[in-house]
């Protein structure tokens, strides 16, 4: 895995462990059981530009909402799932940029979220399982930042 994607993976682990209290396990894209349920997108612009997309399974988003909002499974609403998806991709992006290119300023868009009409491209994509779910989330990276190897 290239350096940029390793940093992205570190950011993903940090966000899900600290804010959603879930521990992810890398898995292959072949583990995806059908279409992802929801997609959250954030773009950034600065010395480099790019976009991060996160594709979530419904059970995983429900687990995230349960953990972050301290609610029971039956209390989780679509609004909560969407909010968690947006906040997750927002934190992943900000954390990723602060690690990959520290000290430089980037403008982040307000994250958008909706049904996953497409699937992540096979390259520059990280897939994870979590908590008995064979596939939970995939995160993809595109743009000029993808091949950045400069900062130490």
């Amino acid at each position: 895995m290239q350096r940029t994607m390793k940093i992205l993976e570190t950011s993903i682990f940090d966000v899900f462990e600290k804010m959603f209290f879930v521990y992810l396990e890398p898995c292959g894209a072949a583990s995806v059981p059908g279409d992802p349920y929801m997609k959250a997108t954030i773009a950034f612009d600065g010395p480099m530009n790019g976009e991060i997309n996160a594709y979530f399974s419904k059970p995983f988003l429900s687990l995230m909402a349960q953990n972050m909002l301290s609610v029971n499974r039956g209390e989780v609403t679509d609004e909560m799932r969407e909010d968690c998806a947006r906040e997750a991709v927002n934190m992943i992006c900000g954390h990723f940029l602060s690690l990959v290119d520290p000290g430089r300023q980037y403008e982040l868009t307000v994250p958008e979220c909706g049904p996953a009409a497409d699937t992540a491209s096979e390259d520059e994509r990280l897939d994870y399982a979590a908590d008995m779910m064979p596939w939970a989330v995939a995160v993809s990276l595109s743009g000029s930042v993808k091949n950045f190897e400069g900062a130490s």
Partner: protein, 143 residues
């Protein structure tokens, strides 16, 4: 001693996390108000007195930087300490927030204990429950 706190974030999930940390800080919180952007926050601040504002930066309508800036231009609101909670780890951006008047900064993702510590530091309460010596730099980051 009890506190009124205003949490400003466009994510209800994040507002919920911060609210729980504030409520579990060990200090009595009378009112914990919530706003989803800077404009809503200013509207609340027109009517309610709060002892601490905890605000995100990246929000629609009015972002956290503009909120801090507007508060500093108001003779009353400028006395309220503001903690910026954001995903942005960029030093220049943080410095800008402090220059505008923010008193503390917390980077997401954070552990609940980090959030609690920042909250107490900025309102001047030490870990042992005593109030800290008056120190105008309390809660600020050193550059």
């Amino acid at each position: 001693m009890s506190f009124n706190v205003l949490i400003v974030d466009d994510s209800m999930s994040m507002r919920s996390v911060i609210r729980r940390v504030v409520e579990m800080s060990g200090y009595k919180v009378d009112n914990c108000y919530e706003a989803s952007n800077g404009l809503e926050a200013l509207s609340i601040l027109e009517d309610k007195w709060v002892d601490l504002v905890i605000s995100d930066i990246n929000m629609p309508e009015m972002d956290g930087m503009e909120l801090v800036s507007r508060m500093r231009k108001d003779d009353v609101l400028r006395m309220i300490p503001v903690v910026i909670v954001t995903t942005e780890g960029n030093e220049e951006r943080v410095r800008e927030a402090f220059e505008l008047g923010a008193r503390g900064y917390l980077k997401k993702p954070f552990l609940p204990e980090e959030c609690r510590r920042m909250f107490l530091q900025v309102i001047g309460v030490q870990e042992d429950g005593e109030y800290a010596e008056d120190d105008e730099d309390s809660g600020d980051l050193d550059f």
